[in-house]
């Protein structure tokens, strides 16, 4: 049994930022375990993405490039991954806790009869060299440390948890093409349509900057200034909402941050008119920097904010958009 495998996710022909993050984590483990780091690339027309994985930390890339893998479907992907893993017996498998990762990896783990820790925010090894993980529970109100002694030990890692090392262009990876054969019964679920989102923005769980609005936004139209601020920050920024705002129909359900919404982990979280209920704080407390803008100086959000502004968000947000635009124009 050998090899630390990383699931290299991609979108629109580009590797996602999680690929570099996970390869960095895998390299650290590989040094202690003296094992090779293997990136796995599944999809259709994905071969060109194999080469960049070497400089990011992969010793080897397994490329399963086949037309039926062009659109993600659980069971064909599960079949290809589990077949490969049964054949080659990696000791550790790391993947992103993304939309695909959350759907796929539990099923893969079940088929391999092994353990999977989901949405982890810390990764290491025990003295016995078993995989040890830290993961939030109760939406981050507490953490558990878990150990998986079976093989392969599987974990999905929350995006933005691991800081990627810059690519080392002197490193290359050996690329191996996998022949793919999927039984017809794996296609019992049929994809009829993909309905694009309104925003086409990065997902909240993967965003590096989130501008979030609460009940003080007053209506859905007012969210435009938050979208404008996110646009000023550029790629990797998007807009979230509190449960109060979603329940008042100011924002859609998929924008909700908190215990019954999405748990997010951006570098910057700007809470606009959000008071800071326990269940909301639970969903964004691991943000690296929190900025709060609120009229109420007593709002609990200020106790968690690195930068708090007591004031009117409808005046401050437009002013901030201008400031960010100025900074970006100089970059």
């Amino acid at each position: 049994m050998a090899g630390i495998w990383v699931y290299a996710e991609h979108k629109d022909g580009k590797l996602k930022s999680t690929a570099a993050q996970l390869l960095t984590g895998a390299r650290t483990l590989a040094e202690t375990l003296s094992e090779e780091v293997v990136a796995v690339l599944l999809g259709s027309g994905v071969e060109a993405m194999a080469a960049p994985l070497g400089p990011l930390g992969a010793d080897k890339v397994l490329v399963a490039d086949a037309q039926p893998l062009g659109q993600y479907l659980t069971e064909p992907y599960c079949h290809v991954l589990t077949t490969l893993m049964k054949e080659r017996q990696p000791s550790i498998f790391l993947g992103p806790a993304s939309s695909i990762g959350k759907d796929l990896f539990p099923r893969v783990a079940a088929r391999l009869q092994t353990g999977l820790a989901s949405d982890c925010t810390g990764i290491g090894l025990t003295e016995n060299k078993d995989l040890k993980l830290k993961r939030p529970v109760y939406a981050g109100k507490a953490f558990i440390e878990v150990v998986i002694s079976g093989r392969p030990a599987m974990a999905s890692i929350r995006p933005n948890t691991l800081t990627p090392k810059p690519a080392d262009s002197s490193k290359t990876a050996l690329s191996e093409k996998i022949s793919v054969s999927i039984p017809p019964e794996a296609f019992r679920v049929k994809l009829k349509e993909v309905v694009k989102g309104k925003s086409e923005k990065v997902d909240l769980t993967e965003a590096s900057i989130i501008v979030s609005g609460g009940r003080a936004m007053q209506n859905s139209e007012n969210y435009k200034i938050l979208w404008d601020l996110a646009s000023a920050f550029g790629e990797g920024a998007t807009v979230g909402a509190s449960r109060a705002a979603v329940d008042s129909s100011y924002a859609s359900h998929d924008m909700q941050v908190g215990q019954t919404g999405k748990v997010v982990n951006p570098n910057l979280y700007i809470a606009c008119g959000i008071s800071g209920a326990i269940q909301h704080l639970a969903g964004m407390r691991t943000s690296k920097v929190i900025v709060a803008i609120n009229k109420d100086p007593e709002a609990p959000i200020f106790q968690k904010a690195d930068f708090g502004i007591v004031g009117d968000l409808f005046k401050l947000v437009p002013a901030l958009i201008e400031e960010i635009k100025k900074i970006k124009a100089h970059d």
Partner: protein, 267 residues
């Protein structure tokens, strides 16, 4: 149409989490227990599917949990669920996701099932694994983060929409039986009516143990866990930082932008 709903009882989302001394998990005294919010959407959807189907079919609740879970089971029965299986055995305690799915799968195999509805995740351990593992163990498809289901009873299939990333959605056609993981926004769960509460008292709640399912102690619980919990901890408290009150918005915004750039270094 036979619908099975898997339900978990969890602490209310407003609960402040405290730890027991000596790594024993979270303190449960004083905790208000509720139906996991995502499971509540699953219960509601099951009832609506039956209503749309002219009241045909049975909705059976399957709930694993200790004695206290009975209260949540009764709530679901009062909402309109027909009967319940309460998987209650000290041997079940400490099971990981794989173990829980195994116990649920054994129980579900004993009853007719066309649609299995679960919450997409429980808001206590947040793993979001049991529905997929359950589907794999039953060798049937699963669809997670489901926001809409249209059931074609005659052809035994469901057209369903699930949320993926960035606000996008996938529309899938799924042959039954299959497992569905309900997301928020799928429906507005009803409140139990007074007649519903009265009726619930006479509905069947069948207690089922490991022995009833033919499961041996070493197959479930802590002993069989593939993912073993070593320690619990609380997150470090965040400290409040700078705070500005009042002032000219343009000036304050300038200060914030400068701070984000030069001190926080996030832009």
């Amino acid at each position: 149409m036979n619908i099975v709903v898997c339900m978990k009882q969890v602490p209310d989302t407003e609960t402040k989490i405290r730890l027991k001394e000596g790594n024993g998990g979270i303190q449960t005294d004083g905790v208000k227990w509720i139906i996991n919010p995502y499971c509540e959407f699953a219960v509601e959807e099951a009832l609506r599917i039956r209503e749309r189907n002219g009241g045909q079919g049975t909705v059976t609740l399957v709930c694993m949990g200790p004695d206290r879970a009975v209260e949540s089971i009764r709530t679901a029965l009062a909402m309109g669920v027909d009967k319940a299986i309460h998987l209650n055995d000290p041997l079940f305690e400490g099971s990981d996701n794989f173990g829980v799915a195994k116990i649920l799968a054994r129980a579900i195999q004993t009853i007719p099932h066309d649609i299995i509805l679960c919450g997409k995740q429980a808001v206590d351990d947040d793993a979001s694994q049991v529905p997929q593992i359950l589907a794999e163990q039953l060798n049937i498809p699963h669809v997670m983060v489901v926001e809409k289901m249209e059931v074609d009873v005659a052809n035994k299939k469901v057209t369903t929409s699930r949320r993926i990333e960035g606000g996008a959605k996938e529309v899938l056609e799924v042959p039954l039986p299959a497992v569905f993981g309900a997301d928020k926004g799928m429906n507005e769960p009803r409140y139990a009516s007074l007649p519903g509460i009265m009726k619930a008292k006479s509905k069947e709640v069948k207690k089922v143990t490991a022995a009833d399912l033919g499961l041996k102690p070493e197959e479930i619980g802590v002993a069989a866990a593939k993912v073993k919990i070593q320690a619990y901890s609380l997150p470090p408290e965040r400290q409040a930082g700078k705070k500005i009150e009042g002032g000219d918005p343009a000036q304050v915004a300038h200060e914030l932008a400068k701070w984000l750039r030069e001190e926080a270094r996030v832009i």
